[in-house]
């Protein structure tokens, strides 16, 4: 079965090279990818994930606002009943914050430079 992944840009940060590169890498590895474009709110990302019925939701943040934004996103995803999907976070996420990001429910944390194969394998392993 083809796995569906939503890649989103959360918050106001306009740096999308990484997010788009990951989209392309996942497409090449057989995933179906939905990309939200820039500047999405937590509610918009949750709405898109619900509508597209994706297996995994990955968001990219490079502005340093990842902790408060991911906390709001986790709330919106739970509200939308998407607790059972795989949540991923990427971008500039300092080592000191990664455990906190995982505790929010983002099981995969893939900072800039992460291997595409590792991301793809992680999604395959953690989605039905």
């Amino acid at each position: 079965m083809t796995r569906r992944v939503l890649i989103g840009k959360l918050g106001l940060d306009g740096h999308d090279v990484g997010a788009k590169t990951v989209c392309r890498a996942l497409m090449e590895r057989g995933f179906e990818v939905v990309y939200t474009g820039l500047r999405r709110s937590p509610e918009e990302i949750a709405g898109a994930a619900l509508q597209e019925d994706v297996h995994a939701i990955g968001v990219s943040i490079l502005s340093g606002a990842h902790l408060p934004l991911l906390e709001r996103l986790a709330g919106a995803l739970r509200q939308a009943g998407l607790d059972d999907r795989l949540w991923l976070a990427g971008g500039v996420i300092p080592r000191a914050d990664r455990e906190a990001v995982r505790r929010l429910g983002f099981r995969g944390v893939f900072p800039a430079g992460a291997s595409f194969d590792a991301i793809a394998d992680f999604i395959r392993e953690h989605t039905p």
Partner: protein, 536 residues
């Protein structure tokens, strides 16, 4: 006895696709287009530099990008940089300010003052520049989507402090077209955004003839994936789009072209980079003279800030970025830049801490004070290799421009997302080249050290400063004259609706303390907002 030949050595192809020879001679310059385009420094076509004496007369301006938190914090950092010998300022605004949201907007939550200075109203702009002589030091405003408002605020601050606007120098980035390709702080749809850039150019041509209203950026397009010749090609095409727009409004090319400037990236092969800048200068001069009929030589010069190089830095072994920045600075100086800014070694992690910012500044100061780089103009000029590459690079840039013409031109290519798709494909190819080791990066794909992630001191974010900004905004809304603000915002809507130049109305609005968010909302009501095409 055997003699080695070219066939014995490995092939080297530059990022731009140029096949590099191991040895160059005068015949190569001849074969690649000849010597005619070289000229003398300060003379058409300005291949060798835009001034006859270049750094011998005055070294390049050092202008590190900086700003964070509230105006008070940023003002302190500015003064500290100036005290450390920086010769220009380059203001970083936070993301809400850059896209025209006030600090109390729900979308701005968590982002206030994070990656730059928060500006809600003229009060913040006044405080940011308090005690800084705006004649003595030129200020560059890195703002695009909300540039009309922030430029108006800067002009208002200068006017209130008694500066003569007709003599005010400085630069605004204000290059909206590249924001749709990289960096992403667009607000309005493409066409009205170009019109707003035209408003600033026209306004400055009339009232601030020394001010540079636009700095056309190849930089962010390169950072988004474009190859070096594409970076130059797209910047030139974007600049042409602005020139065409302003000409269509009835201005003479010589009334404004000399105030356009450029911003380029510097990472990559040293000779290729130098050739890129020399070819770009020549190409721009020829376009202005031959295509636009400019007569004033000042209209033909490509003035630039060349620096940064974020795309070349690594998260791995971050101290190596100090060394990279020094080489980038050297390339930038050898290419004849007017202004330089370097990425700090910690920029893959954070906005620069104070010691990192100082190290970048000192890197440029060492170049100026110790290496003798300022003593001879264009020391690479006449090198058979450099002149051949310059000729070849000009050809490659023109070919990339033709490719965009085949897509229907730069503005449609951006509106439809075609250029973005092309550039993002390039980013993916580059990423693959880095991962496979085809493109070498020390610490990343060669000479890697298996170590724990290094400890890098992060610039602290102080949420209490964001709270302070919000309280100040609330107080302002209580204290200012709301009827004056309403009237002024009506004026902004009316000017935008009629298609008039909005700058006078925006100046009125910021002068009565309308906020960035309010003024931008008034413009959005008339101009609409951009819908991003998602295309791979």
């Amino acid at each position: 006895m055997s003699r080695s030949t070219r066939d014995d050595v490995r092939a080297v192809r530059l990022e731009s696709g140029i096949e590099l020879q191991p040895v160059y001679g005068p015949e190569d310059v001849q074969a690649s287009g000849g010597w005619e385009g070289i000229g003398r420094p300060g003379e058409f076509p300005f291949t060798r530099g835009i001034h006859p004496l270049m750094y011998r007369k005055r070294p390049f301006t050092m202008r590190q990008y900086s700003g964070f938190g509230t105006a008070r914090e940023t003002n302190e950092r500015f003064k500290w940089l100036i005290a450390n010998g920086q010769t220009g300022l380059n203001v970083a605004f936070d993301l809400p300010t850059q896209i025209g949201l006030d600090s109390d907007d729900p979308m701005a939550e968590a982002e206030v003052g994070r990656v730059g200075l928060v500006v809600d109203s003229l009060l913040d702009m006044e405080e940011a520049f308090e005690g800084i002589d705006l004649d003595d030091i030129t200020v560059s405003l890195t703002v695009n989507g909300s540039a009309v408002v922030l430029m108006a605020m800067y002009f208002a601050v200068a006017r209130r402090r008694g500066y003569d606007l007709s003599a005010l120098r400085g630069t605004a980035q204000n290059d909206i077209l590249k924001e749709y390709v990289g960096r992403g702080t667009w607000v309005f749809p493409v066409e009205p955004s170009v019109k707003l850039v035209g408003d600033t150019v026209e306004f400055c041509a009339k009232h601030l003839p020394k001010y540079s209203p636009v700095s056309v950026c190849g930089y962010h397009i390169r950072e988004s994936g474009a190859l070096p010749h594409e970076e130059m090609a797209y910047a030139v095409l974007i600049a042409r789009a602005y020139v065409d727009h302003v000409l269509a409004r009835g201005l003479e090319v010589d009334a404004f072209a000399s105030r356009l400037s450029f911003n380029f990236d510097i990472y990559g092969g040293l000779l290729e980079q130098v050739a890129k800048f020399r070819a770009g200068r020549r190409l721009w001069a020829r376009i202005l003279k031959e295509d636009y009929g400019a007569r004033d030589p000042r209209s033909m010069v490509l003035r630039m800030i060349a620096g940064g190089g974020g795309g070349g830095l690594t998260v791995e072994q971050p101290e190596l970025n100090v060394v990279r920045a020094a080489y980038y600075a050297l390339a930038s100086a050898l290419a004849g830049t007017q202004t330089m800014a370097l990425c700090s070694f910690d920029e893959a992690y954070t906005i620069p801490t104070e010691p990192a910012a100082r190290l970048s500044l000192r890197t440029m100061q060492i170049l100026i004070e110790e290496t003798g780089i300022c003593d001879v103009v264009d020391p690479l000029g006449g090198s058979w290799a450099v002149e051949t590459l310059t000729n070849q690079m000009e050809e490659r840039i023109r070919a990339a421009m033709d490719e965009v013409a085949g897509w229907g031109g730069i503005v449609p290519a951006i509106s439809e997302g075609r250029l973005q798709a092309h550039v993002s494909r390039r980013a993916y190819e580059r990423e693959q080249a880095l991962r496979s080791g085809r493109l070498r990066r020390v610490g990343l794909n060669c000479y890697r050290m298996e170590e724990d992630e290094p400890h890098v001191e992060l610039h602290p974010y102080r949420p209490e400063e964001a709270e302070r900004a919000r309280r100040r905004l609330v107080r302002l809304r209580e204290e200012r004259s709301s009827s004056a603000v309403e009237r002024a915002l009506d004026g902004v809507r009316a000017a935008a609706g009629r298609g008039d130049n909005v700058m006078p109305a925006v100046l009125d609005a910021v002068g009565v303390y309308a906020t960035v968010g309010e003024t931008m909302a008034a413009l959005k009501a008339e101009l609409g907002t951009f819908r991003e095409p998602v295309r791979f």
